[in-house]
């Protein structure tokens, strides 16, 4: 028997979107991944892109992620070498705070986001219906692009 190994970067695996969520300004796609969760986001600007990434993370973490925040707001300021590193750092910051503070952050305001810097305020609540435990944001298949006035990002969460 002989079997072939693909040479390119595209998988033959069909990956239909798991879910498209577009409710009151929230939009992200969860894409099938054999073992983890892949997220794709499009937005008009980087700040919105980072907000959407945070909201996707919250929605994966708890059924009631959109509930009103009950915890005091927390400021966040991050610096990174590039846009991809900044996105991973942002998500991992949220994952860390969620686990330590036992809450889900569904109230996200990104005040400023560039290729290297992010400033935001977040607020969370203790979820009544926790869902998937997210271990970390990975660097695998990570992209952050800006083309013709639109931004897009793809990332994989280890769950």
């Amino acid at each position: 028997m002989a079997c072939s190994m693909r040479d390119g970067v595209t998988s033959p695996m069909q990956r239909p979107p798991d879910k498209v969520t577009v409710t009151s300004g929230r939009s992200y796609r969860l894409i099938d991944h054999p073992s983890e969760v892949e997220v794709h986001i499009e937005a008009l600007e980087l700040a919105s892109l980072f907000e959407q990434a945070a909201l996707a993370l919250a929605a994966i973490s708890a059924e009631d992620s959109a509930d009103v925040a009950t915890q005091p707001p927390e400021p966040i300021a991050l610096h990174a070498a590039d846009g991809e590193a900044l996105l991973v750092q942002w998500l991992n910051e949220l994952i860390f705070r969620s686990e330590v503070n036992k809450c889900v952050y569904g109230d996200i305001h990104v005040h400023h986001a560039s290729e290297h810097e992010l400033r935001a305020t977040i607020a969370g609540h203790c979820p009544r219906a926790p869902k998937t435990s997210v271990k970390a944001a990975t660097w695998h298949g990570l992209t952050v692009t800006r083309n013709h006035g639109r931004c897009a990002a793809t990332f994989v969460l280890d769950v």
Partner: protein, 499 residues
């Protein structure tokens, strides 16, 4: 598994028909980047072979399934890293992960090689521990009650805290002492337990000071917790004995009630990996290294970054050994209060996400197993005395509701750096599984088969449905046919506590 693209995996001259290989020119994937020693720093001067072997252990069915995801492509990315020795190996349960495939094994020279946190993953020393009771399943009519009490004693799921309160000094001792500190320091366990844990439940070269404050903060209240995802605790019975002598040595008999625990280093390990992938990513430029996937970011093993990660990884591994030890204590308490069993006896404890220094074919190597189990053969010097005559116990959990297996390693160093699979391996995404299976239906189906289930969420239950995994019987069969390990016993579930 037939496409018109190269390279091609071909059958290997091996007594079995479950070994496939491809030789890939990794120099091509290194084009445009500096080779060893040409960077801005001191890159590792290790294996630079351009012709790397990718070896897949699978039958036709499993190999075809691997071709449907990116796992072989990910294995090739691993092979392309400067400093990895040939071959890189895919176990029969291999599937796509992030960076390094789940079910992948690779090695690098020690101490001159490289180290990548992504080659171990976020759940450092995720592993499995098997406990054996003295009871036959016919003597245990209260599995529901046992499971319920286990659930009350063991927090499961997202970010849950354990019942054990430790201070920072105790945490530091646990990070450097592993399960030994839980038994000797906290008194949770039997001295004999330590004799039958991989590495004695304590990785040397661990340093608590290499673990960030954040990682400690994340993990300090999680000792004695199961976590979420595919982690579980299962009450089982020994259904079939395949190798009576090995089973006798392990104290296993048909009908016996056992408990299998699958969990790892929890948030502490996740944060250690998070911290050091970032460190390695930043260090790539310093050492003039390039990666095909940033999750595979690495540094020379001997570099400050490499040494620091190695010490932190070993500390996180110790935390995982300690976690499974605390869970053992909790389950023992439950069985002691509700059954007539003698104290549950630890059969063995294996790590399946870890890097270890080992000697293979006369070479000292750092072996990376991500979703793979060490499988030393009989008389290996690192084996517990009790198992020296039979080989290392290899514990393979099945998917929920299906069989698990106990095997003994055969020490296949040249074929697979003495490794075996770690489970059934996912065959379907979590989303697809939820679309295919309703959690409530699955729960009823398991209960109809006499399997008690405790899982707070039907959606989470559906994600781990047996249909989402490969056939563990087939995977284990390939492990045996390839000569990696020999089947000793099949265990079937009586009750499942899902993390």
């Amino acid at each position: 598994m037939h496409t018109n693209e190269s390279p091609t995996l071909v059958g290997f001259a091996h007594p079995s028909d479950v070994v496939f290989e491809a030789f890939v020119d990794t120099a091509a994937s290194r084009q445009g980047r500096p080779s060893n020693g040409e960077g801005t720093g001191d890159a590792p001067r290790t294996s630079t072979s351009a012709n790397m072997c990718i070896r897949i252990l699978a039958d036709d069915t499993l190999a075809s399934r691997m071709a449907l995801d990116r796992s072989i492509e990910q294995l090739r990315n691993v092979a392309s890293l400067d400093g990895i020795v040939s071959p890189v190996i895919g176990m029969p349960d291999m599937h796509e992960g992030y960076g390094f495939p789940i079910g992948g094994v690779a090695a690098t020279p020690y101490p001159g090689g490289i180290i990548s946190p992504g080659a171990i993953g976020f759940d450092i020393n995720c592993g499995v521990r098997l406990l054996a009771s003295s009871l036959s399943h016919r003597d245990v009519s209260n599995v529901e009650s046992l499971l319920h009490e286990c659930m009350r004693s063991i927090p499961t799921g997202y970010g849950r805290s354990g019942r054990l309160t430790i201070d920072s000094a105790q945490l530091d001792r646990i990070l450097e002492g592993g399960a030994r500190e839980i038994v000797r320091g906290l008194g949770l366990g039997l001295a004999d337990d330590l004799d039958v844990l991989e590495s004695g439940g304590c990785m040397h070269n661990a340093s608590s000071s290499a673990v960030s404050t954040r990682a400690k903060e994340r993990g300090c209240d999680q000792l004695g917790t199961l976590g979420g995802g595919n982690h579980f605790l299962e009450i089982q019975r020994v259904q079939t004995i395949f190798d009576s002598e090995s089973a006798r040595v392990m104290g296993l008999f048909e009908g016996q009630v056992t408990v299998l625990i699958h969990t790892g280093s929890r948030g502490l390990g996740h944060q250690v990996c998070t911290d050091y992938v970032q460190t390695m990513d930043a260090a790539l430029a310093k050492y003039g290294l390039h990666v095909p996937d940033r999750q595979l970011a690495f540094a020379p093993l001997w570099s400050p970054e490499g040494q620091s990660y190695f010490a932190a990884m070993n500390a996180a591994a110790n935390f995982a050994f300690a976690n499974r030890q605390v869970l053992t204590h909790r389950v023992r308490q439950v069985f002691a209060s509700r059954t007539a069993s003698a104290p549950l006896r630890v059969v063995y404890d294996v790590a399946h996400n870890i890097a270890k220094i080992e000697t293979h074919e006369g070479r000292e190597l750092c072996v990376y197993r991500k979703g793979a189990t060490r499988a030393f053969g009989a008389n290996h010097t690192e084996l517990p005395v009790r198992y020296a005559s039979i080989g290392q116990p290899v514990l393979i959990p099945g998917s929920m509701g299906t069989s698990s297996f106990v095997l003994v390693g055969l020490g296949a160093s040249s074929l697979a750096f003495a490794s075996a699979c770690h489970g059934a391996g996912r065959a379907m995404s979590r989303g697809a599984s939820k679309r295919l299976v309703r959690g409530s239906d699955l729960r009823r189906s398991l209960e109809a088969r006499g399997i008690a289930v405790r899982c707070p969420s039907n959606a989470e239950l559906a994600e781990e449905a047996p249909a989402a995994y490969k056939d563990v019987e087939r995977v284990v069969d390939v492990v045996e046919r390839a000569g990696l390990a020999r089947k000793v016993a099949r265990l079937v579930p009586l009750g499942v506590l899902k993390g």
